[in-house]
């Protein structure tokens, strides 16, 4: 598949938060958060409930605006863009919501085709692209079903298919494995690996499950073998390329508590971080 949108190769980093602050009536949730995600990198956002993980994703997608600070995505300052420009810009970003957020009045096929229908793509072009996206998540047979007829894991997979339909260079995942059984979670992680390793997607992934992040750091999708393999095999080392592509950022009390690679996180002496490792 070819990218339907401009490459972000001339933009570095892909996502950048500069001293971002946002809050509600209850108080500030993020208090001057700064981090960046390089192109083709996966940044795993960790944190307890209410620490601003989902908020960070929504800020990156321009669905919310920070009180102060700057959010840049693909070189554009989304924190100051007009809603009209944002609507156009968001077509370059895939967003996988926590519960899938599929349109329940539409079939799976229409859900996946939604973006193409909005763009006025011809019907004869839509069908093969929808089937291709659904084939990617191994749910081709569900095209005529409604979301209510799918299991939780299947809904997340359809949501991933919907996010990748126009090959966005950035995909934002909001707790993609939350509430799923271990086997289904593995399937979702395998799909995220495929998106990353086959299409070179830059990802910001919010999760409470550290094992998801470690899986992303330790495994990769081998396009030749068409399966997930350990990064240490086939010339990749656990401390080499794959670790550089997956970093971890822990949010706590409105700020960045930890930022670094898998080895730093797994060998931490910090009591708070150790709670994630249990």
């Amino acid at each position: 598949m070819q990218r339907a949108i401009p490459s972000s190769s001339d933009v570095n980093p892909a996502i950048k938060f500069e001293n971002v602050r946002i809050g509600f009536e209850e108080g500030d949730i993020l208090r001057g958060v700064t981090f960046q995600v390089q192109e083709r990198e996966t940044l795993v956002l960790l944190g307890e409930t209410g620490t601003g993980k989902t908020l960070s994703l929504k800020l990156a997608a321009g669905l919310m605006r920070p009180s102060t600070g700057i959010v840049r995505v693909l070189g554009k300052e989304v924190s100051s863009m007009q809603e009209r420009d944002l609507l156009e810009f968001r077509r370059h970003i895939g967003f996988v919501f926590q519960e899938g957020a599929l349109f329940d009045s539409m079939t799976v096929g229409d859900n996946v085709a939604y973006r193409l229908l909005e763009d006025g793509v011809k019907d004869q072009e839509i069908e093969p692209r929808v089937l291709e996206a659904l084939r990617f998540v191994e749910l081709e047979h569900t095209v005529e079903l409604f979301p209510s007829e799918l299991s939780g894991g299947m809904r997340r997979r359809v949501s991933i298919a919907r996010a990748l339909i126009n090959q966005p260079p950035i995909v934002l995942y909001d707790s993609p494995t939350a509430g799923l059984d271990p086997v289904t979670s593995q399937t979702i992680i395998a799909l995220i690996l495929r998106l990353r390793d086959v299409f070179g997607v830059t990802a910001l992934l919010a999760t409470q499950r550290l094992q998801d992040g470690f899986a992303l750091a330790n495994f990769r999708f081998d396009p030749a073998a068409k399966r997930v393999v350990h990064s240490a095999s086939n010339g990749h080392t656990a401390g080499g390329a794959s670790v550089a592509e997956t970093r971890f950022l822990v949010l706590r009390d409105g700020g960045v508590y930890f930022e670094g690679g898998q080895e730093e996180l797994s060998s931490t002496k910090d009591d708070y971080l150790k709670r994630f490792l249990v």
Partner: protein, 280 residues
């Protein structure tokens, strides 16, 4: 899991805040002003979307079917019996003065000018404003509205404008149906209760109506349609508090649009009577 220092600090800070009557009143006024501002913004954006492309024709047709055809049974049934009840109530008074034939005049004027538009507005509010609020509210709490925005779609154009357009087109037609079935109901009641002939009833009813009455009766539904559709959308798109919030928003949509329709009716009647006096 133990509380973080931030959570503990926040709790202590909140405990120190003292609740006063003035504080509660100020918060309530601020909240009300903010709501009016949000609603005005939604109305402004909706009006802009009504007059500028793109339009979602498929969604407009779906909503026209749901709001128009879907409301038809309750409109026909209610209209018929409202007309009949009016004849029964007024007929007994007119009979005392030997003027039972005047019931046709009264029913026609009351239905076309006032009862048709307002009762249709209230009935459609009960059915559709609540439906709109609960549908959009459910979409909001399940992040479907955010998903729509994330995929580059303006929810005002996709969700609000089709519902407003469909209501604007359907409510005047439903009002006409209420008026017509109301007159049929009145005719039936007149024939069986007051021993009037159907021809006499219809002749009096039609003769009693002026162009100004029709103008008044068919202008009001456009305002009522805008009120009930925008209030339904506003309440749906500002839901707070999950599924419980959806229920609350649905109730608020019904109450608020009903009250606003009645208030607007009073002002519109005054304006219509003034214009009728000046123009016709």
């Amino acid at each position: 899991m133990a509380d973080t220092p931030l959570q503990i600090a926040d709790r202590e800070a909140k405990a120190e805040e003292r609740i006063t009557v003035t504080g509660v009143l100020v918060d309530a006024v601020k909240g009300a002003v903010a709501s009016v501002q949000e609603y005005a913004l939604l109305c402004g954006r909706t009006l802009y979307a009504l007059f500028t492309p793109p339009y979602y024709l498929q969604d407009i047709l779906q909503q026209m079917d749901s709001i128009g055809a879907g409301s038809l049974p309750i409109i026909l049934l209610s209209g018929f019996f409202i007309g009949a009840v009016m004849v029964l109530q007024t007929g007994s008074q007119f009979t005392r003065f030997g003027q039972s034939s005047l019931t046709g005049d009264v029913v026609a004027i009351a239905l076309v000018r006032e009862l048709g538009p307002s009762l249709t507005g209230l009935l459609v509010t009960g059915r559709c404003a609540t439906g709109i609020a609960s549908e959009l509210g459910s979409m909001l709490v399940t992040e479907q509205v955010d998903a729509m925005r994330a995929m580059g779609t303006n929810p005002i154009r996709k969700l609000v404008a089709p519902r407003v357009i469909a209501t604007l087109l359907m409510l005047p037609l439903l009002t006409a149906m209420t008026d017509f079935t109301g007159l049929i109901g009145g005719c039936v009641a007149s024939v069986f209760s007051l021993r009037l002939t159907a021809i006499e009833f219809w002749r009096r009813a039609i003769d009693a109506l002026d162009f100004a009455d029709l103008m008044q009766g068919f202008t009001k539904p456009f305002f009522f349609a805008f009120i009930l559709a925008t209030i339904g959308c506003y309440k749906g798109l500002t839901v707070r508090g999950g599924t419980q919030g959806v229920g609350r928003a649905t109730t608020q949509a019904a109450v608020l649009s009903s009250v606003l329709i009645i208030v607007a009716d009073a002002f519109l009647t005054k304006v219509a009577l003034y214009l009728a006096d000046k123009l016709f």
